[in-house]
Symmetry: C2
Subunit: 470 residues, 2 copies
């Protein structure tokens, strides 16, 4: 059993740390974006260095006090919020934002965990390179949290998930020891890959304090198009065609359904649809090309070929940076429109690519057996990652459907699982999906996870109750 | 303590398996390519299915008998050879070669662990795709072993190591339980990434029986050039230039030193140098381009730009597939020439890219303090991965230098470590580098590795003595 971070413990901790390292948690550190839970915590710790993180963890370990690592607070599954149990120390790395080094010719940089994702992007940009991880909350999300949750977003198709962009990590383990793993190597087969074990473990196995990250060359030219497709199956054939013509140059391939446009019209009419009527399905396609290419011509040629094959019905190719931004704005504002409508249940799912076209109507049909809903299905189609979110019909609110939420979620997740998919594509398990992991996870995987957790954090002080039941 | 796989145990095992599953180990299963060690083993097990692998592991676990997983026997660090200790079961998956499924539009396939790497490449090729892992021993190496060792090779710069090409694994854990992880998803954040933990663990945490793998589109056109560079620093500037002009299109960037040509002239004169005199340093550059490019023109233009910048001094651009093959043959036959000369000590090292130019003269100078040697330094420069191999001068043999081998190795590895590098870039730890891992490995990493090993294989039956001391 863990002990609470009470006043006596706070005194012990304070005596070992520089003044100003501790304070009472702000409201912001006890909330999460979806407003489902309220966290609690006895102390907010704001270390300035890895050594201070080690001290905090050592003292927590000695006193058996839980630690909730806090990045930017943008997680959507409650990994940063502990609503019950003995009050933990909330450990925010927001003061650790240093750029420790940048090697443009190596396409590598080393940053501390508290730097925001946007900060990392800017550091790469200033060196004429690109850090291609990109997601809606990049202004607030911190790179430590992005790695702890193996964040995804819109750049995964081309450049991989957060883990694929990480060369090494520095981390504080549950006993306060320091894992010094900041090597910036492309090949290093010296024992078990603890970097990949820590990445995606959501702060339950160690606290990432710094990371060596990969950058990539910036594309010389980019071009964006919004393409109307007959259906998701055609969208996937378009993806195959584009990959054959332009391998490794497709920067984003996002699916947008009619409901996305309807929600925008309802809640944010200033974001307009470029077509006379909102299409049933369209794809936001982004190409990043080397200088040898004339970007608009390449996109036009791809469009012509797709048209020939019956894969597109209409389309807009951005002719200026302003047009490009306005096309992206549609995709980027859909989550905000969703928030304004108010989802009954949101599902961050992944499917084998070829199962996507079959999944959507099946999921719709299964939902219809529960009741009448609106579904906004959109997302990172190139990765097989859909946000299949369920909303009330006009005139009703999410509160009218509280009693149905579990049935809705089970209906979607059961189908995803039966089709070989994942019930958490990019958001992680946090505390929201612990039961889902138990229900759908491979039993051998769960047993191995519990054994690894017990081996590396025997007292269970690191993010108690996240990923695995405390 | 483990028990030997003796006659009584063989009987127990045989009684639970189909006839013909067990036999005495062949000589081939007890050798390793460098001839440094002779393995021993009581029984060779040749299961035909994952269920049979489970049965074998369960019985070994019950009897505390060690298991040495055996792929294609091509490993260079003795991971497949147990020279001492209680005789183990040698477990070869060579009968498990099924292609379980292939989804061209998903760029994914699922194969059993016993398929050779060349077999996987052929399966992808037959579907109009490419499996880009490529290494000298691909005709014999099996995909299970390639994943267990996180194999590298010549395609890493563009497509990553073996782990980066794996979407999921099926594996038998130390208690015989089955990890069913063959999902073919691009995003799946449901708990700890056991796939990445098993990959690179060299059979010490579980036995990979099948894998879901990524394919990539085949480049429409390819072009190869052998470019003479003033020195390794210029080679790296050439890499930066090529990456800026042709991001994501550089399929290989291999360094060849003069000693490589000298060794070829000495041992395999039929492999000729295309330049009048063997250059001090050259780079084998391979581009894989989409159909919009005229490959030779692209290479010629890159050459012109590099020439302008003083980065190249001479070069040959292959004008035919036959010329392309003959350029590649130089690179591919260097390991065989090395074998014929007979290395005193071979070093598979990685460095931060920008440290490479400084490393080479420093390592040469440190060696010169030990004695007079010939060094063949070549390899995957684009990954910072050098094979820095040390040979006797003409008239001497490796045997004359037996007593110096440890000092040579320490001299090279100490320098690599001091410069932030890795003492095993792509070959792994096996049994050859256990002491190196202890010497150079981060202590916290080693402690965590031991804890994970104890958690997942508490009796230590999986590949005893590999990676970690038994």
């Amino acid at each position: 059993m863990l002990n609470p971070a009470d006043a006596a413990f706070a005194e012990t901790l304070a005596s070992r740390l520089p003044e100003g390292t501790l304070r009472a948690p702000d409201a912001a550190h006890l909330e999460e974006p979806r407003g489902r839970w309220q966290g609690h915590g006895g102390i907010l710790a704001l270390p300035r260095s890895t050594a201070e993180v080690q001290t905090i963890v050592q003292i927590c370990a000695a006193a058996r006090v839980g630690i909730v690592p806090w990045g930017g607070g943008t997680g959507l599954v409650g990994g940063q919020i502990m609503p019950q149990g003995p009050a933990p120390v909330i450990l925010s790395l927001e003061r650790m934002q240093a750029l420790r080094g940048l090697w443009p010719d190596e396409n590598a940089l080393i940053v501390e965990a508290g730097m925001t994702l946007a900060g990392v992007q800017q550091a790469a940009d200033a060196a004429g390179r690109m850090f291609p991880l990109s997601l809606a909350s990049e202004g607030s999300a911190r790179i430590g949290g992005c790695l702890a949750t193996n964040a995804g977003g819109i750049g995964v198709l081309r450049h991989g998930n957060a883990r694929d962009l990480c060369l090494g990590v520095e981390a504080v383990m549950a006993d306060g020891s320091l894992l010094a793993g900041l090597k910036r190597l492309r090949k290093d087969n010296t024992g078990y890959d603890l970097r990949h074990l820590l990445i995606g473990s959501e702060g339950t196995l160690g606290i990432i304090t710094a990371a060596a990250l990969r950058m990539v060359p910036r594309p010389a030219v980019s071009v964006t198009a919004l393409l109307v497709v007959p259906d998701p199956a055609a969208a996937l054939r378009l993806l195959t065609l584009a990959q054959a013509r332009l391998p490794g140059m497709i920067s984003a391939f996002e699916l947008i359904g009619k409901m996305g446009f309807d929600f925008l019209a309802e809640t944010m009419p200033e974001v307009t649809c470029p077509f006379p009527t909102a299409p049933e399905w369209c794809v936001l396609l982004d190409l990043g090309l080397p200088s040898a290419f004339e970007a608009e011509a390449v996109m036009a040629s791809l469009y012509a070929e797709a048209d020939e094959a019956g894969l597109v019905q209409d389309g807009v190719i951005a002719a200026s940076e302003a047009q490009r931004k306005s096309l992206w704005r549609i995709r980027e504002t859909i989550p905000e429109a969703n928030r304004r409508i108010g989802a009954i249940s949101s599902h961050d799912i992944a499917l084998p690519l070829s199962a996507v076209p079959e999944f959507i109507p099946k999921a719709d049909a299964a939902l219809a057996r529960i009741g009448a809903f609106r579904v906004n299905c959109f997302g990172h189609l190139g990765d097989g990652n859909l946000h299949y979110n369920v909303f009330p019909i006009p005139g009703r609110t999410r509160r009218d459907h509280e009693a149905q939420r579990d049935a809705i979620k089970a209906s979607v997740h059961d189908l995803v699982h039966a089709m070989g998919g994942s019930v958490s594509a990019e958001h992680g398990i946090g505390r929201l999906k612990v039961a889902d992991l138990e229900r759908y996870g491979d039993p051998t995987k769960l047993a191995a996870m519990r054994a690894v957790k017990a081996a590396l954090d025997p007292m269970g002080i690191l993010n108690p109750g996240a990923v695995l039941r405390a």
